[in-house]
């Protein structure tokens, strides 16, 4: 499903280069529920950006769904992201002027689906995350946990191959965090591949596999 081979990434900081990823080898297969851990500066965000087609890498290889991802232009990357990836962010990043349903339907809008179809589909996914009754609420009228559920529905609505969640519980209290993780877990049960980036041990323990990064390298892999 997803394979990184000797992946290197540099950031160019003025005169010297910052070597962030120093040769990552990693494979995530279909249906896995993985958490990526590491302290800040370990390279976990950079790796997620590369995996999420939001950033380029300098050397090595990245295969997504058996396709080598290399030097895509923005348009190709946008289309590929839309078709194969779903994103969940720490601060939810719902569009404030749109209600829950419209937010969930947005990826389908960019796929070119008609209004009726995409609203039906969006509703289906809002039901899945238990928020069908809040379909026409604006983000500011929803609690943090509810917003993250909407974001999850948005990530799932395009039926992506992989869901990438960047600190999905970072902005939530403990109880709500667990609820969200349970929801994510239940979605994984249905066969969806999920990658969660976190720095919280208790959150990572709720996944099936923990990949620990340290100084730009894979330090340890733990099966829960």
């Amino acid at each position: 499903m997803l394979r990184l081979e000797d992946l290197h990434k540099y950031y160019h900081m003025g005169s010297h280069d910052l070597h962030v990823l120093k040769g990552i080898d990693l494979e995530i297969t279909e249906g896995e529920f993985v958490s990526i851990m590491g302290s800040s500066g370990s390279g976990k965000s950079t790796m997620l950006n590369i995996v999420g087609l939001l950033d380029d890498y300098d050397s090595g290889a990245y295969y997504l769904d058996n396709k080598l991802i290399k030097k895509m232009n923005e348009k190709e990357a946008a289309i590929y992201r839309n078709n194969t990836l779903g994103f969940v962010f720490q601060s939810f990043n719902l569009i404030s002027s749109k209600d829950a349903l419209e937010n969930v339907a947005l990826p389908l809008f960019y796929r070119g689906m008609g209004r009726k179809n995409r609203n039906d589909k969006a509703m289906e996914y809002l039901e899945l995350v238990g928020l069908a009754d809040r379909a026409h609420h604006l983000p500011k009228e929803l609690s943090g946990g509810q917003q993250q559920r909407v974001a999850l529905a948005r990530a799932l609505v395009s039926d992506p191959k992989i869901v990438l969640a960047d600190e999905p519980t970072g902005a939530l209290d403990t109880n709500t965090s667990y609820e969200i993780m349970e929801l994510i877990s239940s979605i994984n049960e249905k066969g969806k591949t999920i990658v969660v980036v976190t720095h919280e041990d208790d959150i990572s323990k709720m996944t099936k596999k923990i990949i620990r990064l340290k100084d730009g390298l894979v330090d340890d892999i733990i099966i829960n």
């Binding site: 962010f89 990826p107 960019y110 948005r154 395009s158």
Partner: protein
Amino acid sequence: MFDKEFILEIFTTIRKNKLRTFLTGFSVAWGIFMLIILLGSGKGLENGIKENFKGEAKNTIRVFGGLTSIAFEGQPNDRHIEFNNYDKKIITENIPNIDLLYARYDIELDIPVHYKSEYATLAVSGIDPSTKEIEKIKLLEGRYINDWDIEHSQKVAVIGKDAKKMLFRAKSPIGEIIYVNKVPFKIIGVFSDDYAPENKKIYMPLATAQKIFLGGNKISSIAMTLENITPDESKTIENSIKSKLAKRHNFSEKDERAVLIINSIEEFAKSQKLFRAINIFLWLIAIGTIIAGIVGISNIMLIVVKERTKEIGVRKAIGATPASIVKLILLEAVIITIIAGLIGLLAGSTVLEIANGFMEASNTAQAAASEFDENMTIFKNPSVDTMIALNALIVLILSGLLAGFIPAKRAAQIRPIAALREE
């Protein structure tokens, strides 16, 4: 490009940011408002001047006798050139394209005129019937002098409305007998002319005037209108008139003062040039104002893009292509511009309409109050025609695109990772 989904998307954004949209649109509305007011005023000025040229859209050439300034073929200078019936005949027979022609004999003295106990000294002219068409004389009562009156040297007269006031006050003069230099004339009509001094005159058939005032066959001036000709052709005709007269009266064709020829087409062409210059000037000012509006919109859209960096980043992360982001920003700019511009267009036209109404009312009042019916307006019927409105609309759409261009490019360049990086 203009699909429904995007439009709906944009209207949602606009609705959510009413004040910002209003402020943005205001600068454009103001720009278009100024454009319309300026161009409308330009049109008003043009109409006003044209009104004063009235009828001169048709080419009129007037010929007066003068004083020679160059000695020619043994003749000294400072010789009076005087026309008579034969000059009229020569011009009529030799000049092509003449539509209407008249000759007139203006008696240079004030003539005593009596009606019963009323007395006045007035100017008298002998005229041809076509003065009516060529000089745009309005008949207020009765009839004008006709060809039959001329052929039969009838002792009939039409009098100017001011002369009529002096002799008859409010009473109708038609059919009354007045004594001009002790010769009885029957009044057949009352006229009014835009050139006020004429309204104090008495017109009689040319031949009658020549006989009574011992003019022999003298004529003071000849005027003609020419049909369907270009300024160049008109100039050629002017020259050929001059050359015919030069041959007959024995003066040099180079003599500028022997005869005076006034050709309206030159004046007209000059004023046309002036209008064009004024129009260009007005457009320049208006476009300056609109550019200020565009900069305003561009500026605010840049802020909008900055403000929505995160949103745009999210959109990109979930699959928005750079092109669709460009479209989003550009369309928003165009929609705001068009709506604001149409409001400005409407406001401008309304103001012009109101101004127009006021001006017409005051013109009528002025005309009624004025002793001399000068009727000189330099401003008439300011208006926006469809061409101006259409031009304004094109300017609007272009300015919207221009205003949105830089912000849209900026938005397209937003990298999702930068946008989503936590502050």
